[in-house]
Symmetry: C2
Subunit: 436 residues, 2 copies
Amino acid sequence: MEMKTKEYSSALLREHYFEMRHPSGLPVYVFPKKLTTTYAILSTRYGAMDTSFRASDGNFITVPDGVAHFLEHKLFENPDGSDSFAKFSVWGADANAYTTANRTAYLFSCTEHFSEALEELLTFVTTPYFTPETVKKEQGIIAEEIRMYDDSPWDRCFQQLMEAMYAECGIRKNICGTERSIGEITDRLLYDCYRIFYQPCNMALVVCGDVTPEEVLAVCDRVLPQETIRLPIERAPFTEPDTVSRRRIEARMQVAKPLFTLGFKDPILPADPLARSRRYVAMNLLDEAIFSRAGALYSALFEEGLLTTSYSYSYSNTDRCAFHTVSGETDDPDAVEARIAAYLEQLVKTGIDADEIERARRVLYADELQSYDSTEEIANELLSYLFDGADLFGQPALIEDITADEVNALLPMLTRADLRCLSVIRPQEEPEKEEN
Amino acid sequence: MEMKTKEYSSALLREHYFEMRHPSGLPVYVFPKKLTTTYAILSTRYGAMDTSFRASDGNFITVPDGVAHFLEHKLFENPDGSDSFAKFSVWGADANAYTTANRTAYLFSCTEHFSEALEELLTFVTTPYFTPETVKKEQGIIAEEIRMYDDSPWDRCFQQLMEAMYAECGIRKNICGTERSIGEITDRLLYDCYRIFYQPCNMALVVCGDVTPEEVLAVCDRVLPQETIRLPIERAPFTEPDTVSRRRIEARMQVAKPLFTLGFKDPILPADPLARSRRYVAMNLLDEAIFSRAGALYSALFEEGLLTTSYSYSYSNTDRCAFHTVSGETDDPDAVEARIAAYLEQLVKTGIDADEIERARRVLYADELQSYDSTEEIANELLSYLFDGADLFGQPALIEDITADEVNALLPMLTRADLRCLSVIRPQEEPEKEEN
């Protein structure tokens, strides 16, 4: 067996990791790190967005929403009727899985019996087993999960924001699908999607902990084939308008106080992963400088009683969509939007205070370093960057490199009303006016 | 049943909680908060430090180290042989317990079946059951736990720091005790300590979540007696020197790189809880301004390769002891201490940059607000403040009030060599020199 091992290292971080490709086609990454736990994650570039693609007959097909997540559930079930979750606990390993818009991931963390647990992880993910009966049973379980998310106000608030902001992009889909869409899923369809998206060459294994590349490859050799077969993977193209579909969306649920998520659509999606990574870091500097709880905007709105302590913000971007969100609890979501808009208008005129950008830079830099304290964070970050084609170890330099001018140049976009959308969840009954 | 309910509220935080005293003598606190989980914690003012106290015969006695932690383990076991941990999982509740230097706490979080879980919590903590056989079995289990902590380099590094800094104070004791000390524990001794320290008047129940004071009190009424009996509790006084016992302490273990914890003993222990609370906040401002990962000191040492990303710092104070710690991984612990000492000397001359103190203030303020996002954090914070006699809702005002002069005045103490102690864990074998 001949195999090339490539080593990536960061002199600054004094960390390194290895990249290999198993003969099955699976890329394998091992990041040595002596911490309490070892963490392994096996992931495929296949998520809730991937519902239209070229099938093996050469035609584009569209499958029901929620297939990627459905597959995630079903893979834990084995041909002998056993459930892989239970097996992990025997080794004291803690297994889990998740589906996002663009990936599905299976993982465990453990303090001992690493090889046994990794063998089980590779085995169950590479052993699809679906029957009409097991699919039917799962439809009931996932319908329940869908209802659970529907009952969660924050999930609903985010979900309806995506539906309002995006016209075509798959980010507007509910990750679990709908009760109707999952009703259309069959065992045959699961096998078809599995065969296309679970090819080793479309996946990656990342391990972070007190292990060697040799130990990891030895387990791969026990489970995976020694030959590579590749089916072409081609997702259907789509056209998404730059601006938001709707400017405002609202629902009523059982909440004590109205919730809001304010979205800022970012229409600029650099095709080059490194440019995208740079934009990601610059936007994070911008967000940290403007929206941080330690900043003037949040402080003012909090002290006036317009925001509570329930508050968060983020920016995310891929090659298919990008957006900021700011979420909170407030008696008056429209007033919060107006205040944020006015604050941003003013900032465009004055520019962001240079000290604030420096503060943001130091916070991001410290957060970046801190993430190396956890095998879980390292493995998930490494996976994100490699799936996105960007460079994990390039982050500290990006944080240092980006100038205040570059950050300020991103600001005017946040003031464009046609890129902004307010999603609100209001109480069923308006609460009675409280006396102060 | 007559019961006074006192309400505490914060106009700024727009939060409130209720204080009641159950007829059994148990103080009960209910903090209404609509989040996903409800969290309950029942705690007693009894921890690893409390090994010398006045017994019922009027004489001071000293019990073996580790009794509080031993009791914590044994209380989960019931007279019918069942284990309370298992019962909680039936209701989907997640139970746990911990012992610190000065308290023992039993807790659970749940999303439903709150009343059933609370009834179990109150029942098992108020039902001591120990026999010579169950004590003997537990001695083996806890000996294993002691060995586990002994094998953890960070735990050992902290433990030996406390032993080096303190001559008399119980903070120097290992929370679990030693294999020898727990060998001296008997069922009779456990009953004696239980009777003194687990009186409802020495305990508190704190609940945070979507519950009412009435629901909580109804459960208390089902489990607890309707009368109060009080035995006097008196801990033996002790005298601790102001300065550290030893300036340096070192051990060798299986680590890749040396670890250190640098301790700064704080000899000033205000008797008044509010003064102590103010000192706590001022010291936290000082630490955040000096030691933060986002600050100049850490950045410089990191970029020079003297520190890795494994790094932390904290300050803690009670009426019995107070200290700062700064911990990290480094090839040269003495160089790190020297660099920190030189940096502090310089700061005393120039004063801390006013902007840095403002940044620290905003970080602490934001952290304080953020803690209200979690029922677990709220309940544990509320418990800490009430056991310490301080005011949970007073924190934001303290963070705002403390002046830069007040923070700077605390700085010279950090430069006193006789208050400083360096604890080091070095690799068994010195690692071979790496080439750069």
